[in-house]
Symmetry: C2
Amino acid sequence: MTDDERWMGAALALASRGVGRTSPNPSVGCVIVKDGRVVGRGWTQPGGRPHAEAMALAMARDAASGATAYVTLEPCAHRSVRGPACADLLAESGIARVVAAIRDPDPRTDGAGLARLAAAGIETCCNVRAAEARDTMAGFLTRRTQDRPHVTLKLALSLDGGVAMGDGRSQWITGAEARAHTHLERSRHDLILVGAGTLAADTPRLDVRLLGVEDRAPRRVLLSRGLDAPDGWLTVRDPASIAELPGDLLLIEGGAVAAAAFLAAGLVDRLLIYRAPILIGAARTLGDIGLRDLGQAHGRWRLSDRRTLGVDTLEVYGRA
Amino acid sequence: MTDDERWMGAALALASRGVGRTSPNPSVGCVIVKDGRVVGRGWTQPGGRPHAEAMALAMARDAASGATAYVTLEPCAHRSVRGPACADLLAESGIARVVAAIRDPDPRTDGAGLARLAAAGIETCCNVRAAEARDTMAGFLTRRTQDRPHVTLKLALSLDGGVAMGDGRSQWITGAEARAHTHLERSRHDLILVGAGTLAADTPRLDVRLLGVEDRAPRRVLLSRGLDAPDGWLTVRDPASIAELPGDLLLIEGGAVAAAAFLAAGLVDRLLIYRAPILIGAARTLGDIGLRDLGQAHGRWRLSDRRTLGVDTLEVYGRA
């Protein structure tokens, strides 16, 4: 790993702090490094402003002169009523070098940020740990390229694929550690959706019950063609309607019918599978997802992370 | 890890060579070490004789004098028409020290082997890597303690627990690497069982199609109350009847009905789950295993191994 990749790792860690809180902006991280020491750090603040670079420059002050800025997204080139362009701020700071993980696909920037820096005599470099940077901005990028939120489907399953016993009982399949991790995932999403069956059966609170992030509960959404949603909830009539939802990161929490509907519509980008070491038998499992033959099922999902949570295992899959 | 544990590891590796071929004897491994060098090695031969110690002593000859023998099971104390007692052979060889992984539960030995060695002035030691040794003799130990074969249930599953599509199509869920590993597991069992539905649907050959071990196909068994088994097959009418089968290691290969029957009967000791990174939806899954509430499902299975096979993952669970 090069020094640039190492420092970008620090910027990526900062970027992850804002995930789920910066919509419609991406969550970006920035570290400013001088003589091998961090002199400034920042990440996109809740609601999308200030930007990471502005935070880091405010911390670095004069130390930014001659330093290198590592930023997980190309600095923006467009002024806004909400703040100045980061490319201008960096150029004025005396920064000597800017390393960006990826280019900003926003047409108002899309290379113009790096070009403005280069025109100011700053050395620029791009494509450093780009895949990881894209992961931290999955919502922003999916909204921009597909005009809909990025969708994560969470499934808590037994070894034999049960989401519940045959009669619907599902408390509990996974243990306390896995359930706590689900709450952490909730805190990193703008929106959380359940189907009408789950709402009726479980009346889930869908809040974040983790110390320190209780205030980061996502907006609740009901998938239903008829049922009225509780106060404060949003409603979508079908999976395709998620395009109209406010927010770029959507977590599907249940149940098996909603999960199958989103999979059948091809609208799941990421699978979070919490697997308990139990067998249920004659279990309630995932419904029809429109598969016509087994060959079609292959090559769609790639394992991106696996971790042990108590006796359970979390596997994360992304599109292959 | 101590030196004794390291050398016992070599004996365990030798023991694993005979697994599935030594019934009704356990598969045992032995290394004889002198001045830090292996001077003899052996493992139980097909059919159960010669024993590991006899093989290793025959290789070591005079070098056994003053050496240490590492053996995965207490040397036998009983003479048989098929060969002399290993405790006597070791005592006569001039061996100075014998390290056994576990005591032999066979009442004809059960401590008498080590006692005879000690009486001959040989230093003895037991309980070294005992759990791994028990794994290599699971069939022998299960037959002795429960008077039935040790049962491994193999399941090839999708992420959502499907053993097949809803209409029964199951070729293929897992890839070539996982299927090859299944053949390796077959070669390490005395018996392989399928249900009547699988026999009728797939007419499986259940042979070992792996270069070098093609001759190690287990005896085929049909679970059926009525259907006639093909020539050369054995039949059991229900899971409990496996007690009468010749052989100590039984592999259940399919299908979902047979799997559920053995699980419901509490007759599965080990789960081999080959998991493909695919979703099927509305899949054929494991049937009723008699679970009455979710609490009962927990604490029964413990992960003992996990490995990647191509894009698939093998997880091995034992009884908790």
